[in-house]
């Protein structure tokens, strides 16, 4: 009963320090209990439906809640429950379309279960990954690490420390589940496609050194080379952005003179940049050279010529990440690892190999 007798926070000092922000501290569960004439425990029970309560009590609690506009304090709840219905997503760069797609998928899927997503951008700095992940994890119930750049051993330690965690697009030791894209397979499919069009000498424009997905693609290049003895695949360093592709055009042009007839760009941005520059240089695509991208960004289909690419289900990836996270949070096993096989979207930028003069 005397739980009510709290000191009223009136204006103790009418003349001094009248704060603009009237701290109208919102109703607490105690207020609701008092108003409904029941115990806090009952209020909690009604609100959480954990056990059966007298319909009469339910009614009065609901009324009190409505009257007071009561909303439970999430901070208090997370303190006692040890979780806060939030997960974190750590990415090297929020501006990367792939991560954006995953974020969207994750965020929507998590929202359906009452979870929210916290984002943390390491701005491509490897040494930020550990502290950022650890710090982010402290605010959340679980975490997803997107394409971490960390060396394998440090990554393994990190995932163990921030568990439950799921890793995207990167193999990792330990029992953190991984959801990823089979880049190697994509490249092999692509080479297959080029080979069937009669191409015998290809050029792969490689992405960033530290990128695991670039390593995967390189593996794909190696596998494809082994599978197609008649096809030679050269590799040149390039990058991952529009201007990297643009800048690679000269290199591509000189490669043409050496018999290269097809270019596999690291991703669509590189391919699009390359196409732009090739057009300016008067190099016909796919007449003189075929070009392919990777990721199938929306713009790919709208390029001229429309870009042949490998489609990656970004949002689906995010949703898949969420289903793993949810399982882990619930203490269940995360389920089998998944890797998505990119789907080849053949468009206009690839065609029959030109007859070499």
């Amino acid at each position: 009963m005397y739980g009510n007798v709290v000191p009223k926070m009136g204006n103790r000092f009418p003349d001094t320090e009248v704060r603009m922000t009237e701290r109208v501290k919102s109703a607490t569960i105690a207020d609701v209990a008092a108003r409904a004439g029941v115990s806090q425990a009952s209020v909690s029970r009604v609100l959480n439906g954990k056990s059966t309560v007298d319909p009469e009590i339910v009614r009065s609690v609901r009324r009190a809640v409505a009257d007071l506009g009561y909303r439970p304090s999430l901070a208090a709840r997370s303190l006692v429950q040890g979780r806060n219905q939030t997960v974190a997503m750590v990415v090297p760069d929020l501006e990367n379309p792939l991560f954006q797609g995953i974020l969207k998928g994750l965020s929507v899927a998590a929202a359906a279960d009452g979870y929210r997503v916290l984002v943390a951008d390491t701005v491509e700095r490897v040494d930020e990954e550990e502290p950022t992940a650890i710090e982010a994890r402290e605010r959340c119930d679980a975490i997803v690490l997107c394409a971490p750049r960390l060396p394998a051993d440090r990554l393994a330690k990190l995932t163990a420390r921030v568990a439950p965690a799921v890793v995207v697009n990167r193999a990792v030791d330990g029992d953190a589940p991984v959801v990823g894209v089979d880049y190697a397979r994509g490249i092999r499919d692509l080479v297959e496609h080029f080979a069937s069009l009669g191409h015998r000498r290809l050029l792969y424009l490689a992405g960033p050194e530290s990128s695991a997905s670039n390593a995967d693609r390189l593996r794909g290049v190696a596998e494809a080379t082994a599978a197609h003895p008649g096809v030679e695949i050269r590799v040149a360093a390039c990058g991952s952005r529009l201007d990297d592709g643009y800048a690679a055009a000269d290199l591509v042009v000189s490669a043409l003179r050496e018999g290269v007839t097809g270019v596999l760009a690291f991703n669509d941005l590189v391919a699009l940049g390359l196409l732009t520059r090739l057009r300016a240089l008067g190099v016909d695509v796919p007449g003189a050279v075929s070009v392919s991208g990777f990721d199938d960004v929306p713009m790919a289909a709208f390029a001229t010529p429309a870009l042949t690419s490998l489609s990656v289900p970004r949002a689906e990836l995010g949703a898949q990440v969420w289903s793993r996270l949810r399982a882990l949070i619930a203490g269940e096993p995360a389920g089998h690892p998944v890797t998505y096989r990119p789907r080849l979207e053949v468009r206009e930028s690839t065609g029959p190999a030109p007859v070499i003069a």
Copy 2:
């Protein structure tokens, strides 16, 4: 001393329910205090540097913290402090490049102050905005509403309720600070540009009905018309995406026959889609018709022809949002409202008006 004597969570029941997740409950401030032989208050003081403490105590506390690998519980801290160093960002669509840019800028700026960003996507559903914002706000210290679709009156109520709040790209009654882009001004600058090139009849491809930034652009169209009596600006419904622009090509072509020589697309995506289709139709840009975009997405400069656009400082916008939020959280006034004037990037897609036959 006996704070250490926590029951070891060994296998109490070797045969039953061996949990995979060994719940090693981490050290609390009480453990640290016990180990250092001081009070919890002192530990807190040392960790927060709120008041001067005996160097001897400082040392022993630091040691205990290190030994135990102690990390304070953020949940407990937020309960007592009433804030949790997190802000929320509510957007209609996480896949929109503008919001992505803002998110990036906000997230990076906030991180520098130890704050993290929670994202909430309303997937373009107007009626989701209120509940989503309210719910998100409950987890955070402040919130930013990006381009809310809500009617003015409901928006005003909402911002009051979820204060401190900052609104992006949308005017709002009440005292929530707004940071935005002066779309109307951008359009006027654009029309000026077209007019100076001799264009006299233009077509504006409008964005989504419910978009406030589209309304702003329309206002810009009206103002420009008033300012340039010699220039006529027609308006046609279109959309905001690549395929909307693509689909609008026929409409544009027929407009050409009626003397239209310049097209102002709602945004770059629309413009890019349009360019693609026009090229396929053999319509020369800017020979037969000039085309401009809005937003200056990275691809704009790589289009063929390179797209004339209005550059919007997305990341800067995000940083600006953060500075307002921080001020509001600190209880300070938010500072003057800002609107960024888009910068005209003249490229190849706009040129002199063709001489009408």
